[in-house]
């Protein structure tokens, strides 16, 4: 035995704290940190993430930056191609048109219409502008009337005179006022004499039109506009539509509808799915059986039919917005996937060792669900959610395209596509931009979903 002979007080004083220790492990990473690192390595997914964030910013901040009213119809700028604001001439108000009628013209009822002469001369009256082109011509001997044609490429023969503008009855009426849908550019007007039949000869005059705007319209943009000045019109970076509305502003407002449905519908139906799937998987037995049969039943319901039924059930009459019924229909009919997924996960986790251990230690159901089961299914659910978003956006676009979604004048990408496709061959920008927005958005969400799946659920990693 050893005796303690002496004890020093120093022996009982605490040892100085020291912070020095050697690091022998890599930093501890949480599940989410780990996932983030993996996601960052995936370039596609990262780019998609930026697009998605950009889209949200575009939608939320857009209206404050781009202050153009999406429902404002500028009828002088119908179907304008994309531009950063062109300069137009301020024109005087239109003066009343007075028809030129010559005296002493003789119509010859016997003259053969086809062999009538062409008019000798066509004269422009006043200053031609996109508000109106007026011209007169010398009467043709024996003519009983004239046909006026207009085209934008120089006519080569009688067949290519273009659009018939008017058929004037009376050989003494020798002037015409054209104000039909004129745009800046060169026009060729042809005058053809007729007597029953139209003559095979014609006379052409060409007119160059500058972009212009009437004084009153100009003053509504800038109050001190004067006649003859050049006025810079507002930029239309994506052009205008068939009623002169700004495409960019409409796309921004359309994004609201698309993203509203795209985010809220999946969020709500995935929550509903988790709830049903969770209950089903955790309690099992009879409850599971019943809930799964209900799921099968809902899965079999046709979406489009129910969408129509919901619209009627909600008392949404013709011309009413179909967005709310669409949201409800999506929630009621689309939760099944999330429910099945959650049930499968919970069934698996419920029997795993750490849950068993927790239960042995006395954990209650609620604690088990919120502490162990849900957090472990969250990764899979999140991946499911990112895939659900583009499909909801696409559903909205599709329904609006067939006229079951938004009511005009509210724009949505789908309805804009529907409007644009009708004039796709002449004004492609009216269709291409909304279609592009739908495509890019859906693609971005899908790629992001792919990346998230790889990052959150390494077991399911795709083979790329």
């Amino acid at each position: 035995m050893m005796d303690i002979k002496t004890a020093f007080p120093l022996d009982f004083s605490p040892v100085k704290k020291t912070t020095e220790f050697t690091l022998s492990s890599r930093p501890s990473l949480s599940y989410w940190q780990d996932a983030w690192i993996r996601l960052k390595k995936n370039k596609q997914a990262l780019a998609s993430l930026f697009i998605v964030v950009g889209l949200v910013v575009f939608t939320l901040i857009g209206p404050y930056v781009w202050r153009v009213d999406p429902s404002n119809q500028e009828l002088s700028r119908i179907s304008e191609a994309p531009s950063l604001g062109r300069s137009v001439l301020v024109l005087p108000e239109e003066v009343a048109y007075e028809e030129v009628v010559v005296a002493g013209h003789e119509e010859s009822p016997t003259a053969d219409g086809a062999s009538l002469d062409a008019t000798a001369e066509i004269q422009i009256m006043g200053v031609p502008s996109i508000q109106g082109v007026r011209f007169k011509w010398t009467p043709v001997k024996g003519a009983a009337g004239y046909s006026i044609y207009r085209t934008q490429t120089e006519p080569k023969d009688r067949e290519s005179l273009g659009v018939p503008l008017s058929s004037i009855e009376g050989g003494n009426r020798v002037s015409f006022d054209d104000g039909f849908d004129l745009q800046a550019g060169r026009y060729f007007y042809a005058v053809v004499a007729k007597n029953g039949e139209e003559s095979s000869k014609f006379k052409v005059i060409s007119v160059d039109l500058k972009a212009g705007i009437s004084l009153s319209d100009a003053q509504s943009i800038s109050p001190d506009a004067k006649i003859g000045e050049m006025l810079k019109m507002g930029a239309r970076p994506l052009g205008t539509d068939y009623l002169g509305r700004d495409m960019l502003a409409r796309l921004i407002f359309g994004a609201r509808v698309s993203l509203f449905i795209g985010f809220f519908a999946p969020l709500l139906y995935v929550i509903l799915g988790i709830l049903i799937g969770g209950i089903s998987g955790y309690f099992g037995g009879k409850i599971d059986d019943w809930l799964m049969r209900i799921t099968d039943f809902v899965l079999a319901l046709p979406f489009l039919l129910f969408m129509i039924l919901f619209k009627i059930a909600f008392g949404a009459g013709p011309g009413d917005d179909g967005i709310f019924p669409m949201l409800i229909a999506l929630i009621v009919l689309s939760w099944t996937g999330a429910a099945r997924l959650t049930r499968g996960q919970i069934l698996q986790l419920r029997e795993s060792e750490f849950v068993q251990a927790s239960r042995l230690l006395g954990a209650k159901s609620l604690y088990l669900i919120f502490r162990h089961l849900l957090p472990n299914t969250l990764g899979v659910i999140l991946v499911y959610l990112t895939f659900a978003v583009p499909s909801a956006i696409f559903t909205e676009a599709f329904l609006s395209f067939i006229g079951m979604g938004v009511a005009p004048p509210t724009p949505s990408w789908g309805s804009m596509c529907n409007d644009g496709i009708k004039s796709f061959l002449i004004h492609p920008h009216e269709f291409i931009f909304p279609a592009l927005f739908i495509s890019i958005t859906v693609l971005a969400f899908n790629l992001l979903g792919d990346g998230l799946r790889d990052a959150l659920d390494p077991k399911m990693r795709s083979q790329s």
Binding site: S71, Q152, G162, P408, L425
Partner: protein, 525 residues
């Protein structure tokens, strides 16, 4: 061996092609709902029926009556007698008799048959009383004296009766055939009998129609076409244009605004004509509708600028801004009706319109509920609706709900009165202002807004019961003025149609009255 067969087949087709039937391919906007001539109301039905059936008269290029089944006729203030040609036959070879006309007309006024066009027979004695159930159908003033003589008694002197006899509702129907169809007459190709230049040989519902030359037609030698095929039915302008471009169809009856630059670019020769139709906003006067308020209607009338509308929205050159219900081409006493009886609707005045809408708001209890704008499902209908929606909203603060419906459904909704404003239109049935003027009478089924004005009814009755042209025109002009002053409608435009046809297709007649386009005299090289 394969090669040989191929050559053989090729030669065979080549020799067949030489004797190829003269065939025209067309595309139409919508399918006829049915082809029972006593019930038909729409343009597509009129087009098909005008080619497969022939009435007492045919309508010429300018609406003038030409001999049809009737060889000659006598008309006076009391009635008319028609002498039918002996060689007029049905497609099954049996002769067309005066009884077939009597049967068809009785059918049209039979209250059990509920024809929307019963009113067009009102000039015939007792027709109106029969429609209202006050007399028996046997009492209709049309009798077959013998197989070839048809005697018609008039209710009142009727100055435009001859022009009516080419109209669809006046076309003949044979009794034994009608009854053998058990209520399905006109529902299918086999449920129809033809007496006109063509017969309907095939009708695939929703997809296509085929008409072939009728060898039993009395004037068959003047019919040059062997077949009119309608392989496509679509209201989509772009699709129609592409069919023409791909040479799948020989004609497009009407180009849309967006087709004009394309047609120019492709170098297609465009032709134009006025189809005589007038388009207007029709207000609903059924109880409880906000549009029963005159101030509201007045505000709407004053806020629109139809000049801007036709150039920017309609966009078809030659279109005229709407002014009155009776369009500019209709003849009056000696000259154009509108020249003789000018009516100038008020010009756009937004400040005034605002005052009217404020007054309307007060009368309607503080606010005006959203108005329902009923319209069709075409591109143009949507643009037009959105254009007016914006104008009503920005200047008057009125909400407009757009109800786009397919043709059939729109007609059903118009009849049921499920609208506040409907974008309506009317094409002439015969060459007289009456075809427009009687539209807004309280007894007319096509008065969809159910506007009712005793003075108007009285004036139209007056016009319908005199043979003096001057008196008739005066009465109609006075009636029209009442109707327009009350703003029962706001005329929007008078249509001009621009169309393209294959260079090889000749002799197609575009006209305002009767089957349009009329291919009965057409040929294709």
């Amino acid at each position: 061996m394969n090669m040989k067969r191929l050559v053989f087949v090729f030669l065979a087709t080549a020799s067949i092609a030489q004797a190829a039937p003269k065939k025209v391919n067309l595309v139409i906007q919508t399918e006829p709902p049915q082809l029972d001539s006593s019930k038909a109301t729409d343009q597509q039905s009129n087009f098909v029926l005008g080619h497969i059936l022939e009435g007492l008269t045919r309508s010429g290029k300018n609406g003038e009556p030409l001999p049809g089944v009737a060889e000659k006729w006598e008309v006076n203030d009391k009635g008319a007698t028609f002498y039918l040609r002996k060689d007029a036959k049905w497609s099954d070879g049996k002769p067309v008799t005066a009884k077939d006309f009597v049967f068809a007309w009785r059918l049209a006024v039979d209250p059990k048959n509920t024809s929307e066009y019963a009113f067009i027979l009102y000039p015939v004695k007792n027709a109106e009383a029969i429609v209202k159930g006050k007399k028996k159908i046997e009492e209709l003033g049309a009798t077959a004296v013998n197989d070839t003589t048809l005697k018609v008694e008039f209710e009142k002197p009727c100055g435009y009766f001859l022009g009516l006899t080419s109209f669809t509702t006046y076309l003949p129907i044979r009794e034994d055939f009608y009854k053998s169809r058990n209520g399905k007459y006109g529902a299918d190709a086999k449920d129809l009998l033809a007496n006109g230049p063509f017969t309907l040989t095939r009708w695939v519902h929703g997809a296509s129609l085929t008409m072939e030359k009728n060898p039993n037609y009395w004037n068959a030698k003047t019919v040059k076409l062997d077949q009119i095929d309608i392989p496509y039915i679509t209201p989509d302008n772009t699709a129609q244009f592409n069919f023409f471009k791909d040479k799948k169809v020989d004609m497009i009856e009407r180009l849309g605004k967006d087709d004009l630059p394309l047609a120019t670019k492709n170098g297609f020769k465009m032709k134009s004509y006025s189809d005589g139709s007038v388009f207007y906003m029709e207000f609903n006067f059924r109880k409880g509708r906000p549009t029963t308020n005159k101030n509201l209607r007045k505000a709407i009338q004053l806020v629109v600028n139809m000049d801007e509308y036709i150039t920017k929205v309609v966009g078809i050159p030659g279109t005229l801004p709407g002014k009155t219900l009776i369009p500019v081409w209709v003849r009056g006493v000696k000259d154009r009706f509108r020249k003789e009886y000018p009516y100038n609707p008020p010009k756009m005045n937004i400040a005034e319109a605002k005052k009217f809408v404020e007054a309307a708001k007060k009368e309607l209890g503080g606010s005006i509920p959203p108005l329902v704008w009923l319209t069709g499902d075409t591109n143009f209908a949507a643009r037009e609706a959105e254009y007016f929606q914006n104008i009503f909203k920005t200047h008057l603060g009125l909400e407009l709900k757009i109800d786009k419906q397919i043709f059939k459904q729109r007609l059903a909704k118009m009849t049921a009165g499920e609208f506040d404003i409907v974008a309506a239109g009317w094409g002439p049935d015969f060459a007289d202002p009456m075809t427009f003027a009687e539209l807004k009478t309280s007894w007319n089924e096509n008065n969809r807004g159910e506007w009712k004005n005793d003075q108007y009814d009285k004036l139209i009755r007056e016009a319908q019961s005199t043979s003096s042209v001057k008196k008739r025109m005066n009465a109609m002009a006075a009636a029209e003025k009442i109707m327009l002053d009350e703003v029962a409608i706001v005329p929007s435009y008078e249509r001009t149609v621009i169309y393209i046809e294959n260079d090889r297709l000749k002799g197609v007649v575009r006209k305002q009255i009767g089957a349009d386009p009329d291919l009965t005299q057409a040929t294709i090289d």
